[in-house]
């Protein structure tokens, strides 16, 4: 189990922010973290990895990472980390990237086969596409058989087809090796597919914690817009902020609506 109780003062673009988080994550859980930019998501991952300092305590399976006299060094935490920009070792080939982590050719070949990269193993990583690079990074992160996998918006730079493929591969790895995983993401569908639990961060605090369904399907109060047009099929064009949307009404609902009128649309929250 991963026990987190940390505090840190952040000086971000939106001024001072007090990161204050407390939660426990079970072994093998896949947790997604959502929140506006500047809410402290990436900082949380970096603190867990030991790349940034913080006050408080972090314990992983009865080993203290933070809270003892000296924080446990990054090198000793056995963490896999996926960066948004892949962060591959550019002077090495695909295979060398994996073997640099651990000289275990058999396991490297296994991982490359699992992600369909075997044919590219001698290729320089600078020659790969974004999707291929992130798959190499995923394999590299798994080389030490990490007890914790941290994913910092790993798929946000990829197109939707590649994103689906990578989601499958992340899921495959998670099922095969059972490591605890924490992923920062903005993509609701991605979170729904991968995570078993979602934390929503706002101004450095956890404001919601639950299954993806519980957290993301919660009703909102509704959005106010202006009715711009209503055609004969009762399809209305509504201005929401700067966005135009079309809403189909039943004949009953459309009765009494007037162009120019302010209306409130209640919807299921998907993000």
């Amino acid at each position: 189990m991963l026990q987190i109780a940390i505090e840190k003062e952040l000086h971000g673009a939106n001024g001072l922010l007090n990161l204050e988080l407390k939660c426990n994550i079970e072994q093998g859980e896949f947790v997604a973290i959502m929140g506006k930019s500047g809410s402290g998501k990436t900082t949380l991952l970096r603190i867990l990895a030991g790349l940034e300092e913080a006050q408080g305590s972090i314990g992983m399976n009865h080993v203290t990472w933070l809270g003892a006299r000296k924080p446990l060094a990054v090198q000793k935490r056995n963490i896999g980390f996926l960066f948004q920009d892949y962060a591959l070792f550019e002077n090495m080939s695909v295979e060398e990237n994996l073997l640099f982590v651990k000289k275990d050719k058999k396991f490297a070949n296994e991982l490359l086969a699992l992600t369909e990269l075997t044919s590219l193993k001698k290729e320089s990583v600078t020659r790969l596409s974004g999707g291929q690079k992130q798959r190499v990074a995923l394999c590299r992160a798994m080389m030490n058989r990490p007890q914790l996998l941290l994913l910092d918006e790993p798929l946000s730079a990829l197109d939707s087809v590649m994103r689906l493929k990578l989601q499958d591969e992340i899921l495959k790895m998670h099922r095969a090796f059972g490591m605890t995983s924490i992923m920062v993401s903005h993509d609701a569908s991605e979170i729904y597919r991968l995570a078993s639990r979602v934390l929503i961060l706002e101004n450095g605090k956890i404001v919601k914690d639950g299954t993806p369904k519980e957290v993301m399907m919660e009703n909102t109060k509704g959005l106010e817009g202006e009715l711009l047009a209503l055609n004969e099929q009762n399809i209305a064009t509504v201005l929401l902020g700067h966005q135009l949307i079309e809403v189909a009404f039943s004949a009953q609902e459309a009765k009494g609506l007037k162009v120019g009128q302010k209306i409130t649309l209640a919807m299921h929250k998907t993000l």
């Binding site: 990895a49 896999g80 980390f81 920009d85 070792f89 640099f100 982590v101 600078t126």
Partner: protein, 218 residues
């Protein structure tokens, strides 16, 4: 002319290259950990150290030479090759440190962190990840330090004198030839220096240009 060429004393060039070679080698090993430290440091003393490092670039060689003269006098290093090496190392220090530091600072920080996360020490990361990824900066640092030492004059004049085979490097030899109005030899020596310097610099720029093209292609 041919007679002048055959009787040309090449020992000042040999000495210049020896001095530049030893200086570059020593500086490389001293500067590497220092440049790495500066690139990774967020310490408040960093600007202070950077300013100290850059000092030899702006100080007149006579000022440096004067201080060396005073210090070396105490430890009997004036007019010796060892004295020249120590002075050259300090004089060329920024030319080795700054390109290396710039190279390290331009590296993707996440790439270095990925190495730490893989369990690798800072030393292993420097050796196997950072250094191989700053090849152009590395080459620039080595070549510029080497050529800068070859071109050294003022500091050597102050502390080295002109002892053949010990401190009489090419730049000093040219200065002496002009003083005794042996313009013929001065011409030949100067032309050799000019050609060597140009070829060395050209090779650096050609290499760096080719590296950029390789980088840009992918």
């Amino acid at each position: 002319m041919i007679e002048t060429l055959t009787h040309l004393d090449l020992s000042p060039f040999v000495l210049s290259f020896k001095l530049a070679g030893v200086t570059t080698l020593l500086l490389f090993f001293v500067s590497l950990p220092f440049a790495w430290y500066l690139s990774q440091s967020r310490s408040k003393t960093k600007p202070f150290m950077e300013a100290l490092t850059a000092l030899p670039m702006v100080l007149p060689p006579s000022v440096l030479g004067f201080y060396f003269l005073m210090i070396f006098n105490q430890i009997e290093l004036n007019f010796t090759f060892t004295g020249l090496v120590i002075a050259s190392c300090l004089y060329s220090f920024p030319f080795m440190v700054q390109p290396l530091q710039g190279g390290f600072e331009s590296l993707n920080k996440n790439m270095l962190e990925a190495s730490y996360l893989a369990g690798k020490s800072k030393f292993k990361t420097l050796l196997f990840v950072a250094l191989p990824n700053i090849k152009p900066a590395l080459l620039t640092a080595i070549i510029i330090t080497f050529s800068h030492t070859i071109g050294e004059f003022g500091v050597i004049l102050m502390i080295g004198g002109s002892i053949p085979g010990e401190t009489k490097v090419a730049s000093i030899a040219i200065y002496e030839m002009v003083e005794i109005m042996d313009y013929n030899s001065a011409h030949i020596y100067s032309l050799i220096m000019l050609l060597i310097s140009f070829v060395v610099l050209l090779s650096v720029y050609v290499f760096n240009h080719s590296q950029k093209r390789v980088g840009g292609f992918h």
